[in-house]
Symmetry: none
Subunit: 350 residues, 2 copies
DNA sequence: ACTTAGCACTCAAAGAGTGAGAGTGCTAAA
DNA sequence: TTTAGCACTCTCACTCTTTGAGTGCTAAGT
């Protein structure tokens, strides 16, 4: 594989990304860093087509990159510029600081990405799933009416109203709360399972049958937590993309949660996937640029951009990269005091 | 304004709603309830066009209704059938009963509307705003970290984490909770104001300055409550509507909260608004069919359908109508035991 | 052995012309 | 006042032609 051919391939991708039109040999020959005639380029382009990196929409048109062409460009050819410092601090401002709630942090990142890239942005947050139950409270709020409060080590709080068939006495409530704390405090959200709750229902019913709705309530709350949250922002940007099929976009927006599975896979660094490569994300000619952020070293979610395959990778990747790093930083470290006692404790509270 | 012309206008709207194609004089003349020739109809249609009720996409096409045409049709011309009893009981089943939480009630209504109309449904619930604070709890959950729990008489529950500069002693917490209960229990959410909280911050700070973040937290939660909740369900149905601009739809879905303002306006009965008439709901060629439900006689939220302007009003309106009435009924009256003590109390708890 | 100029060739996109069909407006008769 | 009839208009779908960009190939140049 020729040095010059690679240069030409890169040039074709750059030009195509810039203009959106198939690029001909003449355009390439006029670029500063290319010093051969259009005829030579034609020969090389024909070779690149042979090798599967370029293709022609029709005989008398210029060339556009194929999947393989983009892949090669992304993996080997393109050079990523560093984000200028003022841009970094602008992003810092948009994101928030260590006190910003995690959810908001990723929402802000998504909004920033949408605005910068003019594409759709997608973020997931699986932090709640990897956290640990740090507190369960049952609070009476009315006749036979109770509110369950579930708090996890990462600061997620969920509540739910629950109606019982009888009112609980002070002792019964105490017994229940104590039992739950014994069994759930310090347990990771991911470990929670239907069976666990079934067993608890059985155990608790032995003491007093009408307590079981409370256990069910807690079970439902824990399901809420386990579910990874996925947010798509700027979906409308995809609709204004010429090269994307509107129907497919619409279908994707409707079923955006399909992406969850794909984004749950572990990987490191920036990943670029093409729409036609997977079916959890089936928009032809689209591409997904995604990266994982971490909280205290553990994968905590992902953050990415969805756009046409013809996007400015050189521009977007540094942004995605910086934002994931920044989020990882903001979520980690001195967050200790949020995690607080709860994370370290494994037994019941005193 | 001719009797026959009105009949023809109604027929044109009906046909257009049915087929989606501009309707010509011939089609109308073949309808059962029209007994004049196509030429006569042509004359009348020309007159209706003159008057601004019909328009032609182009000279040699049939007519379609204008905004004014729809308006006249909706306000005067169409005849609404009654919902058959079995349909009513089907809806009753979907909705729930007096024990169903209010939120779920309106969610169910929205889901039912989506399914029946194949359009998007929108519901708002401003009930929390008109409710009364029934409980405020402050729960320590970690080092200098507290969760505030705010519960209202209508069963809304809000929570918020709050970080203080120092840990509170048991007495301090007790003092604070007591103070808050004294001042907020039984107060209507609507009455809560910035100034009230400012006064409370001042009062509480006198005792211990670092308590003020808690008051601020409660203040923020009460703002949440004051804000009416708006849910859009079945937004994707709009995307498969030929006559709606996909861009506008997606933009609307992403900014659905703009609708809140509009739905806060007081009105009674069914209202139909067209997308181009307002900018808090700017989907061209769309229409919003909406009605208010009441709780104990007071407006408590709204419930509606968003679809193309060419929507079967005759069919949809009875549904919206019935559902609002049913919700009003379910929310009112014997709800006493949910509202429980709190609603009747005006002073602090004992 | 590469590179380049030149030229014939191909093909999509844009424009122009055509006929069919739907629906109208108008006129004159009932 | 209504109706039948007819000429007219305009869109849609189709075809044909032109235009121009870009190619592949060949033969000459380095």
């Amino acid at each position: 594989m020729d040095e010059r051919k690679l240069k030409i391939l890169a040039a074709v991708v750059d030009e195509y990304v810039r203009t959106g039109e198939p690029v001909g040999s003449k355009v390439i020959s006029k670029l500063d860093n290319i010093k051969v005639s259009s005829a030579t380029i034609r020969n090389d382009m024909a070779a690149l087509e042979q090798m599967g990196y370029l293709e022609q929409p029709h005989t008398s048109a210029g060339r556009i990159p194929t999947f393989a062409g983009y892949r090669l460009y992304i993996d080997e050819l393109m050079t990523l510029p560093d984000l200028p410092d003022e841009e970094k601090s602008r992003l810092d401002g948009l994101l928030g600081d260590k006190d910003t709630p995690e959810e908001l942090l990723v929402q802000n990142a998504a909004a920033a990405l949408t605005e910068i890239t003019q594409c759709a942005a997608v973020v997931t947050n699986s932090a709640p799933r990897f956290s640990v139950i740090s507190k369960v409270e049952v609070i009476p709020t009315g006749k036979r009416l109770y509110v369950i409060l579930l708090i996890t080590s990462n600061g997620s709080i969920k509540n739910k109203a629950c109606r019982l068939e009888f009112d609980l006495s002070h002792e019964q409530l105490e017994f229940f709360t104590h039992y739950i704390e014994e069994n759930l405090n310090g347990v990771s959200v991911e470990q929670l399972s239907e069976e666990m709750f079934d067993k608890m229902v059985a155990a608790v019913s032995a003491y007093m049958v009408s307590l079981s709705p409370l256990v069910k309530g807690i079970c439902e709350l824990s399901e809420d937590l386990r579910q990874q949250e996925l947010t798509l922002s700027g979906g409308e940007k995809l609709l204004s993309c010429e090269e994307l099929d509107k129907m497919e976009v619409v279908r994707f927006i409707e079923h955006k949660n399909q992406l969850s599975d794909m984004l749950e896979d572990t990987f490191s660094g920036i990943q670029v996937k093409f729409g036609s490569e997977s079916d959890s994300f089936a928009i032809g000619n689209s591409s997904l640029i995604v990266s994982k952020y971490r909280k205290d070293g553990k994968e905590a979610g992902s953050l990415g951009v969805i756009g046409p395959m013809r996007v400015d990778y050189k521009k977007i990747i540094p942004y995605v990269d910086y934002l994931t790093q920044k989020i990882s930083y903001l979520m980690s470290g001195s967050d200790d005091d949020i995690v607080s006692g709860a994370a370290d404790e494994t037994g019941p509270k005193t």
